[in-house]
Symmetry: C2
Subunit: 412 residues, 2 copies
């Protein structure tokens, strides 16, 4: 029988009633003839409680013990989901990560799945079991210790299972009903997309649209897993939600798929840096070694052998960045007059596969912002994305103006 993977996030299994509702959705797919692998998160709030206890016990905790503690919430949901399905007369059983086993690296709290041997679960399907419920977010290291995949890791668990079991599709049930052209709370004209390409979803996911964990999209793209995002709180038709799929499967699409934004970006500038070969390398090596994730970079035109170097990074890494460059200065590696941090900025991005073949998207974006009187501080582009840093107070205005200008409220 074909295999379907269904993943239910924390809000979708937050209470026994919601677990029952999710189980009913699983029952519908079983009735259609699928053998189903269900990936569950912890009941919402549970993982945060456990993380809180660990932090209170040991601020600089041993990540192996952290993993042993915080993985327990998923085990509870998996067992309860199995019992709920059994009550509905659906043959089901739960599996913890080590039982499958979900083999991961030893990078505790941020482990990567290396292999999921399908034999154990497939042999149970062959015996008549119809649903395998697997605790998401967790695995087992080569040393036999419990690992976790990082927050949101259950999405990655789901996609990895879909790949390992060659599932027909991986349905991610969550508290939103799909992927939108932008956040509906910012633009009332935001439209749910029926389909979106992996590459676009990847840009949107990493740009702050919190629907899917970035790694799960990367994995889906690599293994060509059809990924569907849909709401566990609405009655579902077969084409509900948003399908994340290969570019080729999308017949018609807008040049721009969506407008993303992030408030968690800061702009930092090193003023009056000696402009000589290798200086950029020195600065960004120091930042990298200091654990700073630099996103955008701009270097001003040099004047009298000195220049300004500007970059953006997550707001919560500003202190770390200041320390990294100050240390590099006192070590004589770099030289500058001043460091300026501006946390009052936002990043706006337009994303779309269509940019590859359509020119003029960047020009149009800049015109729209200019017409609204919004000054652009930094620009970066990739093949399918243009991002700008602007004053945070203009963020909503910029999103709405761009959404209108690219006519995202209309389907292709």
């Amino acid at each position: 029988m074909p295999v379907l993977v269904m993943k239910f996030g924390g809000t979708s299994v937050a209470t026994l009633d919601r677990i029952r509702r999710a189980a009913k959705r699983v029952g519908v797919e079983v009735a259609k003839g699928y053998d189903v692998i269900v990936i569950v998160s912890a009941m919402s709030g549970k993982t945060n409680e456990l993380v809180g206890w660990v932090g209170e016990t040991s601020p600089l905790y041993d990540a192996r013990e952290y993993d042993a503690v915080v993985s327990s919430g998923e085990n509870v949901t998996a067992g309860l989901m199995a019992l709920t399905l059994q009550e509905m007369d659906v043959p089901a059983r739960s599996w913890q990560g080590w039982q499958v086993p979900v083999k991961t690296t030893s990078a505790h709290s941020a482990a990567r799945i290396e292999e999921i041997p399908p034999e154990n679960i497939m042999s149970k399907f062959a015996e008549g079991m119809r649903v395998a419920i697997v605790a998401g977010f967790q695995g087992v290291s080569p040393e036999g210790r419990i690992t976790t995949l990082g927050r949101g890791g259950s999405d990655t668990t789901a996609v990895a299972f879909a790949a390992a079991f060659e599932a027909e599709r991986c349905d991610i049930y969550t508290d939103v009903d799909g992927v939108y052209t932008t956040d509906p709370r910012v633009s009332a004209k935001a439209r749910k997309l029926d389909k979106i390409a992996f590459e676009e979803m990847l840009e949107l996911a990493s740009l702050g649209a919190k629907v899917l964990q970035t790694r799960s999209v990367e994995l889906a793209m690599r293994y060509k897993v059809k990924l569907r995002v849909l709401s566990s709180f609405e009655e579902q038709s077969d084409d509900a939600g948003t399908l994340v799929c290969a570019e080729e499967e999308i017949m018609e699409s807008n040049v721009v798929a969506g407008v993303a934004f992030s408030r968690d970006e800061a702009k930092m500038t090193l003023v009056s840096v000696a402009d000589r070969p290798g200086i950029a390398a020195n600065i960004f090596t120091a930042l990298s070694e200091g654990g700073v994730n630099v996103d955008m970079i701009v270097q001003n035109i040099s004047e009298e052998g000195r220049t300004d170097m500007t970059w953006s990074c997550p707001t919560d890494q500003v202190v770390r960045a200041q320390k990294a460059v100050a240390d590099a200065k006192s070590d004589g590696i770099i030289n500058y007059h001043e460091i300026i941090a501006d946390t009052d900025v936002a990043k706006i991005s337009v994303v779309g596969i269509g940019m590859r073949s359509h020119t003029g998207v960047a020009a149009k974006m800049f015109q729209v912002l200019s017409a609204e009187g919004i000054n652009i501080k930094v620009i970066t582009t990739s093949e399918i994305k243009i991002s700008v840093l602007i004053d945070r107070k203009y963020m909503e205005l910029a999103v709405q103006a761009l959404h209108d200008a690219f006519e995202l409220e209309k389907a292709a």
Copy 2:
């Protein structure tokens, strides 16, 4: 280095503060030079919450899923205890049942430990780890599924580890400071025992003194594990609590060690049973097959070929017992006029190794009760115990009178 097993019950690890207090006790033993195996229960209330969810989800639950769910509380405590010890610079790590592995039978929810290979933990001790924290109450079946040992099973886990690792002692930290001659809430003269023999503890444990799980005492007796019961809420000296040990290690002891009682006992009588060979076997086979745990049995003198058969069983099994004998009657296996259930009774027992060599304990017990005007309904005796069933309203009076008569307030 010598190995010590320390077990902390749910109230002793109910909060992060209490886990810290328990960890400090562990640190004291490590400083003395012990390699310590710590067995932890779930934070108090957690297991009940999980059991409640399972019952609400599925009244006739799959015991395998029940075990997968309810075992998760211990995993949380084990990880938090490891982190707490690490914060105190004590090299420690947590182990879940399957990681040790604690090999059990497949009797889910009531599994028995079959083997605990010490190699994994011993090799870590050899590397310098000083404390292995093991999640109590759980193990793994030959099929690789999680099992639990039944409520209170962490005591059994602790004793089994003490046996497998040839520990010097197994310290059970709980919310009382030892084993008493009787319940201090019933007799103000109750005295804490410094030592008690395994056999006596076994009778007291199964008679309703809820300090230790019966199976843990059986196991300790079989493997000659020195078991100490002590409070986690008091400063401890080396001879704190009560040592449960072999008879030979107790130099002086009272003839009677303690007075136990149970309110959860019911008296049932089958009136006018045909008195022919095999009839007792038929009755008690029917009760046994009906899942009734019969404790005491009395058969009246036969008159005109008919007799009354009386037994005691736990109060919550009365309905089951009534159904079992009624079914046996309608199947023609037994014949009786009437069945009477009296749930208004209590069982009082005096227990002591010394009874083996001292006669007259039973006679004295009966005299004491008679002098108080308390009628005895049923009597049973074993080598080291005499139990009687009396009207429940006399329970406290009987306990106090017997405690006085046998001078249990005085040490031997």
